[in-house]
């Protein structure tokens, strides 16, 4: 029995200058049936990696294999075995939604009848039946995205690569989409999910890697990555727009601020003090509201990839 595990081993890919690395000795594997998340900020090297899997780019060194198949040496096989939803919208302006899904399924090797049956299932499962006969040009961004997902899921092959699949999709249909992602996994497909939406990924993936600047910073299940945040809580304070970050009390273990959203990590033992501090901020008119809760994968993500604001200001 063939082991169809996807493996990236020591994959290195530099940009045109040959000095900056989009992927820097990346090693990971995705087993059949597994939903694997690749998380990282913009420019972390996620898309570069998946483009090498599908044969659109070639690694400088390292190997990409699917079971016994060398995907770098045989890009034709890579395209037959892996289906790819790119980050950009699909080129389906002239296609009716149902046509786009069916033609892609048939291009991917399915017979007309089998593809049509699976297409109908997906249209129903994603709740997009009302746009079935609508031309792509007239679809909203979110529905077009769902049609795009159906195009790659209709006849998926052994690996499905999804690059930011939920972009523009409404919250209700996002759930439906994640159910179908899970279903692909249940049917034995290895799902390779690229995203920077940490909270969604936490609920959907079996394992994940957090990457930044082309390197894997951490890898594991969502709970194992949150392990070092055990015994800690996240105190989220919504500051008044354009206000300065208030002075932090000594019990705050770490913090990040994205626009008006200040997230402070506090020890469980300091929960009451944390609430007191947040209430004080509200009384002084610095904050509008706050919430105390369990730490999430996002906290681990921020801890590993660094302060987003600090990064943004360093690069601007």
């Amino acid at each position: 029995m063939t082991d169809w595990t996807f493996r990236a081993t020591d994959v290195t890919k530099s940009y045109d200058d040959g000095e900056t690395f989009a992927n820097d000795h990346l090693t990971l594997h995705v087993e059949p049936g597994e939903v694997y998340g690749l998380l990282g900020p913009n420019g972390a090297g996620k898309t570069t990696l998946v483009k090498q899997v599908i044969g659109l780019l070639k690694p400088d060194s390292g190997s990409l294999t699917l079971g016994p198949t060398d995907l770098v040496a045989d890009p034709d096989a890579a395209r037959q075995m892996c289906s790819y939803l790119p980050q950009a919208q699909m080129p389906i302006n002239s296609f009716k939604a149902h046509e786009a899904i069916k033609i892609t399924g048939m291009i991917r090797g399915g017979s007309a009848d089998a593809v049509a049956a699976r297409r109908n299932e997906l249209i129903e499962a994603l709740d997009i039946d009302e746009w079935r006969d609508t031309l792509g040009a007239k679809l909203s961004g979110g529905v077009k995205r769902l049609v795009g997902f159906a195009m790659v899921a209709v006849w998926p092959g052994r690996v499905v690569i999804l690059d930011e699949p939920t972009n523009d999709v409404d919250p209700l249909r996002r759930r439906l989409l994640w159910e179908q992602v899970r279903r692909l996994g249940d049917e034995g497909v290895a799902v390779f999910l690229v995203t920077h939406n940490v909270l969604e990924a936490e609920k959907s993936v079996d394992r994940l890697a957090i990457i930044d600047e082309g390197k894997i910073l951490a890898e594991g299940t969502p709970s194992s990555l949150k392990q070092s945040d055990r015994g800690r809580l996240r105190l989220q304070v919504m500051l008044v727009p354009r206000s300065e970050t208030p002075e932090l009390p000594p019990f705050v273990l770490g913090h990040t601020r994205v626009r008006n959203n200040l997230i402070a990590v506090v020890p469980e033992a300091a929960a009451a003090s944390g609430i007191g501090w947040a209430q004080q901020l509200m009384e002084h008119g610095v904050a509008e509201e706050y919430a105390l809760g369990a730490t999430t994968l996002e906290d681990a993500y921020v801890r590993l990839t660094g302060d987003i604001e600090a990064k943004a200001s360093a690069t601007s």
């Binding site: 483009k51 599908i54 044969g55 659109l56 780019l57 070639k58 890009p75 034709d76 096989a77 395209r79 037959q80 075995m81 289906s83 790819y84 939803l85 790119p86 980050q87 950009a88 919208q89 699909m90 080129p91 389906i92 302006n93 002239s94 296609f95 046509e99 033609i103 892609t104 399924g105 048939m106 291009i107 991917r108 090797g109 399915g110 089998a114 699976r118 031309l135 040009a137 899921a153 209709v154 006849w155 998926p156 092959g157 052994r158 692909l184 049917e187 034995g188 497909v189």
Partner: protein, 258 residues
């Protein structure tokens, strides 16, 4: 195991043929919104050029009318392959839809073959209408022979493959568009397509002997007229070499990964 999991890799002539049919369908449906307007523009360009030359010069001698009329259809075919095709690919690159199309599991050659079929569908109506309009306007002595078929096919194939190679090898969509603009300028102004090559300066005529456009005009004109084309075998040979070269470059470009 899901219904869509591939049991074995597909290959062989049946796989090629099925992929070709599917890609042709993909291209034609993909141009559904653009196809009517594109064919219409081709009609206008061809007929407009024929009539425009007449307006500009008033009276045109019969031989010149024959050159213009047969030259225009070469321009309509070459424009589709060398200008319109690359611009459509530049559009895919600009809209970032290029990656999806090239991730589809089909032999690269089937995508190129489907592209040629699509270009033929776009080009042929304009070519026919230009000829009909020319015939009505100038009452020219067309002698249409079977030679027009290989001539038109080779012309369209070479132009399409050249345009395809340019469009796929250049990353920047803006640059693709710029090059195609220059091409159409050279095509209409500096290549002996609408006029005999003797009217060009010696060095430019010599240059055109090795470039494909003069020979496209010759093979087409030979299938539409009698007694005005000489050196037809040489024209087929030169154009054939261009076709082979363009095919090889396209093959290399499509297999190349960065």
């Amino acid at each position: 195991m899901t219904a869509g999991t591939i049991p074995a890799l597909r290959s062989g002539p049946r796989y090629w043929w099925r992929s070709f049919l599917m890609m042709t369908r993909w291209e034609i449906v993909g141009l559904r919104l653009l196809l009517p307007i594109t064919v219409f523009v081709q009609l206008l360009t061809g007929a407009g050029f024929v009539l425009g030359v007449g307006l500009f010069f008033g009276q045109i001698p019969p031989r010149a009318a024959l050159f213009v009329s047969t030259g225009v259809i070469v321009i309509t075919l070459a424009t589709v392959g060398l200008v319109l095709g690359p611009q459509l690919i530049a559009g895919q690159k600009a809209q970032q839809t290029y990656d999806f199309i090239w991730s589809l599991p089909v032999p690269r050659s089937t995508a190129a073959a489907a592209w040629i079929v699509t270009n033929t569908i776009i080009a042929v109506p304009g070519m026919v209408v230009a000829l009909v309009v020319a015939n009505i306007r100038y009452d020219i002595d067309l002698v249409i022979s079977i030679g027009i078929l290989p001539g038109a096919l080779l012309t369209l194939y070479t132009a399409t493959m050249l345009g395809y190679a340019i469009a796929h090898s250049i990353k920047q969509p803006m640059l693709i568009n710029l090059i195609t603009q220059v091409t159409i300028f050279a095509l209409t102004g500096f290549s002996p397509v609408n006029f005999p090559k003797e009217q060009l300066p010696g060095w430019l005529a010599a240059l055109n002997e090795v470039l494909p456009l003069l020979h496209m005009a010759n093979v087409m004109r030979a299938g539409l007229t009698e007694g005005i084309v000489t050196g037809l075998t040489r024209s087929y040979a030169v154009l054939g070499l261009w076709a082979v070269a363009a095919t090889m470059v396209t093959g290399w470009v499509l297999r190349r990964r960065q």
